[in-house]
Amino acid sequence: MEFSAVPKLCLHLISSAYQRCRLSGQICRLAVILTHSSSSHSSLRISISDTGIGCCLEEFQDLWFSSTDVADNWGIRDTEIHSYQINLKGSGSSRITRLPSNTKNGANFSGSEVYLSSFVSLDILLADIHTFMQKMQILKIPNVAIQLVAEDCDVPESRYEKVFLANECKQLPMSASNLELLKSGIEDYVVKHGNNLSTKEQLKVGTACCTNNRLHTELVMEAVLHFKDFSPSTISRSSVKVLQSIDWKTYGLNLRGIVEQDGVTLLEWENLPKDIHIDMTTIPAPRKMPPLYRNLVKKAVKLSLDDLKANHSQAFLSSRALQIRGYAPDLAKTIAGLILSSSDLDFQGECLSLLGLQFQEVGTEIVESCIEERIVSVIEMNDKKPQNSQQVAPFLFEELEDPVQETEFQENDFSPLDF
């Protein structure tokens, strides 16, 4: 393995450990200990341990090999603390060694520890990890305490130690869910680092929590601005496939393509207004996904998009609805015409009162805009409902006793006499 890859691997391991802590829901500790010693066979020993939900061997194998399945035998119900060593010089499955586990003695937590050794420079690695942990603070997870320790055994008094705690979440109630915390953190982050957004109100964030019992875990999906600053890694090909399989048009979006550039994955949108940036993250963001897992991610993404749309329907109208909404002014004008051109004053009055308008104040434009508003809102409402779950409304203007089966006319022939 190249030297440059070691920091990446470390960040990934830290990220995974952090996820395990976050998902446990308990108060957890994540410790990263870097020890440099010129006497040992590798110059730098890296230990990443956590008291989260526990992990399994296959999780690490995925880092290099295509795995057929992720074993589901890990979690807080395990009785032991697993311990692994990664041998960077090894090859194949021999790279990862399962060290003897320590029993938890019935305690209600799980835990993992990963060791690895490398010749990478302590200072550089420490700086990378430090930055990464600061970024992780965005997640605002209060139950995880992160401890970063670095020591050069050859240099006395060189021990560095820092504890990261989510201390900015005072505005949120202690009972806030992970999801809410994450949302708040991301909002803070975007506002802090963000673009032209001056207020938090303009920021639209959709979240969704989607559980799959078979995996004994939950996936959280957020749609936020400036995803690329957050993620230390590019999106895996599986994730790209998931993103491509989503029907963006339902949300008025048009994914042109996914481009990888300088290690950063960019989603390119068509016809997106200039002042809008859309990026997203899934947490956890696995590198390779079995089909089941993939469906879960997709579901999470869709749910959070639905969440976004539910709260900001105007901005995320499907392109279908957008097209239909294009007819609203004409439709409103026509209906207003039907009302106002009627010679029946009673009828006019009735219609206006339905619209909540007074007879006196009626100008054509007012009636039109009033109707248009309502048509638009019906269209937007229609759009929020999933396509297939549309309930059958009563037919307009029809007393239907014996519904006849709908048939398709293929022959649309005009008779010569239908002039």
């Binding site: 015409g337 009735e350 809102s377 307009l396 519904p403 006499l417």
Partner: protein
Amino acid sequence: MEGKRTRFPSESQPQSVILLAKIKEFTRALLADLTNGRSPLILIYRFRSYCAVPNANCFCASDLPSGKEVLTLRRKSHAHRLVVMLRVMLVVQKLLQENKHSSKRDIYYTYPSLFLDQSVVDQAINDICILMQCSRHNLNVVSAGKGLIMGWIRFSEGERIFDCISSPNTAHLVPVHVEEVQDWGETLPNLCIDIISVARYILVVEKESETYLLGLSLILCILYTKRFLRLLVENLRLPVYCLVDCDPHGFDILTTYRFGSMQMAYDTKHLRVPDIHWLGAFPSDSERYFVPNQCLLPLTAEVLLIFLLDKRKVEAMLLRCYLQREVPQWRLELKLMLQKGVKFEIEALSVHALSFLSESYIPSKIESEVSRR
């Protein structure tokens, strides 16, 4: 079901008042849905005058709807149809309120960029008729097509007297407001029928020519006169004969007179003339009357595409259920047209003598029709 298709209201109110009320009701219901945040759903029945399964046990003759369509605001195509339908309804409301008449073309030209195409307007008019359970003329939408009449008839429309008898060689325009003729006929039935009785039969022809009519007692109608023809038939109780080109188009005209068109299937009962007889030109006439070969155009006009179109049209028509059921002998002739692969126009019959049609063809054909019955 019968109630759905009544044209003449049982109430004493004029049709226009009823229609206006229906339009208002429709508007009100639409508005109520919108203000309640409901998406309006509009159910439109579909009617058809035939199906393409000749031997099926179909109900195409029964005047029952054969299906339905539901318009909502959820589909783009529906949204456009809805806009067009409502805009046409707005035009109709104006027409009815002001007691004016208008043609389909008129309506289209009022908002061409909204409607995009004439056919959309036509569909909207049909939809409204179905929705309002009325005929097209009830909407004060009249046909702008040309209908001509000549021969032994005299009648009036409003103040105007159509005297075809005194100028037998002149084709008179068929009145636009057929209803007025009928109303007038109902109030003064004797006058109308007395004068008309000179004629012995009604001949419907595809195109205008003077060569049909010398020395014959007949009334002659030309195209786009379905309602007027129906009115004549109802009032005069004369046999009706149809003379069209021997080509797919001519046959289509014939069947439309007899069975109604698919487009206006919802109103077929009131437009079709079920007793119309096919006088010619039959595919078999080309041999019987020695039509020269060069006057027989292959079902092609040289271009393969047109050939296929004609052929395909005939093949599609052969499937129409009513042919097998009601006029199998017509179907045989149509099959013959396909077999021979040629078509010809009425004019081809008169190449040997200018008065051939009026002096021998039409009389002999009518004679054989009469003797057949």
